[in-house]
Symmetry: C2
Subunit: 427 residues, 2 copies
């Protein structure tokens, strides 16, 4: 989509020129053009679960007191209130909360944290290793910055340590190890694969990182956005708690998925050498994120409402995940070559079609689905352009937004569309 | 100040390496180290004027209704709600509100708007022309990006059109016109000079821009942050309303100064060729600013509370400006060679000392002031490093934060410090 029609486009920087419509925008356009469509695409959270009364209560608590109210409406600091950083550190890590809080920056969602780290570490032509598939907005950021994304094979337990080792070996053999700046990992209920990296594999990934970090400083960039959205099994410690090198590890998280996206508070812990740059850079790009929202989240954490909300979300989404998996069992399991993962949390189910069936946004399947009234995210959007092969026969399904009946109907429509394109005579 | 002590600093990108402590951070450190000090430095707003009850009311309005509440806590769009963009366009421009709203992006304060435009237009080694003095956080952004800031002479009516013409001529003579990407202008009650560009000079500045824009596309980047903080005189139309080329003009503004910094809602209108890039880039850096805050501001604008708050601020700050100017008349006017401007609005009074008196952060005057208990912003922080000469004998005084008695005391202490360094025998 090119809406440019002026002669002044020449003024755009290389970055401005590279900035391009994200896949998600195409999907939104498709959704808007077909208002009756069942969207299993958007990663939005369930409207019915949004904590209106908790935010309202927190606003009253914070603003009815002159001291906290004035604090909240005045400028904050570049990295956010210490009390909130402490609370986040205590909640997410088993020890060293003081040290972690001191190296934490609060941002506008974890997206902005990823951007901030990217600005301070990545240069045009650098290489970042990501699971294949991975979070497509992060891929968009890398693309706009002129950074190469290199895909590492992943399965239902996340990034495969042996594949990471092989990928790094391949880049080293090509004399490109010095351009490898980071490995990006989503260890909990990841977007889009729905996989959670088990503790043993976390140790193996750390071992591979350690091995290569001895040759070249490579940053482990960990995105814990979905950690609290776990509906079964036990919680697993962070990479940091399991011994990842603190001098080369960034841990990030957000209150968007586990509380409410509109409140837009995210965070990241990073080594001191990076923290100093990132905090200072944040001071020139937005002078610190909205202090009001930080004070609201602090109040919500302290009052216990956050825990209440997480439990509410876990209950609601566990039911929806169950509905989606049952619908998949009913409608998709019988189609030869169709496979799907059974995640323990998050908002997504990852679906693989038979190798020959293209699910891309120009494919017959996509058109069939739009016509029949169901929308999904083509898996191809989630693959780095280098490294592990792009699997065009994949689909990300989200169960976050739709009510249960729509999830069932959407999966049924999807199964009919798949059957139709696999048996063209029946279309 | 260098806190780096790790071997991994080598991982920093050029931008990460350039990111350096901003002047304002040094000032904050000085303030924190001397808790009893009277700070006439910080550009914060007056705590006593913060609209706690209006934000609280808006939170109730927005969150007590299921539809607006869910909207506010869900993800918004990358450039923010159309209704809010429309309201901002109608308030700030005399016509074409629909068109302007369509080309508007809502950001985290106007700082983030400046960053967004900078990312999409400026490249390392490019040149941006700014008034000398100008907003030092913007200078910090340019520095971190490796962009050259070139100073243009300014007086109490803002940037001087003839000086702008001469500066562009000088750069053209050096074959550097192709590196000139933008002219940055703060036409209302500017930070730090306190100047407002009169209508006739706005026309002259537009004429100079037009002349040079015929040779090279140069973006006019207008920062209207202080427009509503006017305490006397008539409002003046924007550069856009006065005929600046819409294809090469960005207008920005914020609700930080005229309402509350903690709410962090800013905006910018830009030509379509830039808007497309900037909106898309915003989608990868933070996925759109906090939707809750945007819905709160929309409610506050619609309810009329915003106008109430602006009037309250105008009354409060008019009184404080008067107190500061009277204190200057009492304590500073009699010192030979000391001059100060009499702004019609904003938060700052710009002070010029005799040519030989250095007000820099390493100067005897600075040390005298810290010892005596008053803090100011050294004017030198506000000067671009090229073009118009840096005047180290200048000071930015802010009357926003301190109560009236402290403003009086602060100016008295400052006058004593100035007298002391001008008569070293008396120290």
């Amino acid at each position: 989509m090119n809406l440019h029609n002026s002669t002044h486009e020449q003024l755009l920087s290389p970055r401005g020129t590279r900035a391009s419509e994200q896949p998600i925008s195409q999907l939104m356009s498709a959704a808007l053009a077909n208002p009756g469509i069942i969207s299993l695409a958007a990663g939005f959270v369930d409207n019915a679960t949004l904590p209106l009364e908790f935010v309202s209560e927190a606003a009253q608590n914070v603003l009815s007191d002159t001291a906290t109210g004035r604090l909240a409406l005045q400028y904050g600091t570049n990295n956010g209130p210490q009390e909130l950083r402490q609370a986040i550190a205590q909640r997410n890590f088993s020890n060293n909360a003081d040290d972690l809080a001191d190296r934490m920056i609060l941002t506008a969602g974890s997206n902005q944290l990823l951007h901030l780290v990217a600005e301070c570490v990545f240069d045009e032509g650098d290489i970042v290793l990501c699971a294949a598939p991975t979070y497509f907005v992060f891929l968009g950021l890398l693309k706009d910055m002129g950074v190469r994304a290199f895909g590492i094979e992943a399965d239902d337990q996340g990034m495969i340590p042996e594949s990471l080792d092989q990928g790094l070996q391949q880049l080293a053999s090509n004399n490109e190890l010095h351009r490898v700046k980071s490995v990006y990992l989503i260890p909990y209920c990841d977007n889009p694969g729905g996989s959670t990296v088990p503790e043993s594999r976390r140790h193996d990934l750390i071992a591979v990182m350690n091995k290569w970090q001895q040759q070249s400083p490579i940053l482990l960039l960990v995105d814990n956005a979905y950690r609290d959205l776990r509906y079964s099994g036990e919680d697993i410690p962070t990479l940091t708690d399991l011994g990842a090198d603190p001098e080369l590890t960034v841990e990030s998280g957000t209150f968007s998925k586990n509380f409410g996206p509109g409140i837009r508070v995210g965070w990241g812990v990073m080594p001191r050498w990076l923290f100093d740059s990132a905090r200072r850079f944040k001071s020139v790009i937005d002078f610190g994120s909205a202090h009001l929202n930080q004070q609201l989240m602090l109040n919500i954490l302290k009052s216990g409402r956050f825990d209440e909300q997480v439990q509410r979300l876990q209950t609601a989404y566990a039911g929806k995940l169950q509905v989606m998996l049952e619908a998949c069992d009913t409608h998709l399991a019988g189609i030869p070559g169709v496979e799907y993962r059974r995640p323990i949390g998050g908002l997504y189910v990852w679906l693989e079609l038979p190798p020959g069936v293209d699910a891309g946004s120009d494919s017959p399947l996509w058109k069939q689905c739009i016509e029949r009234g169901v929308l999904y995210v083509p898996g191809e959007f989630c693959y780095p352009s280098e490294g592990a092969a792009v699997r065009k026969n994949t689909i990300r399904l989200s169960f976050g937004v739709q009510p249960e009946s729509q999830i069932r109907d959407g999966i049924k429509l999807l199964s009919e569309a798949i059957t139709a394109v696999m048996n063209p005579a029946n279309v």
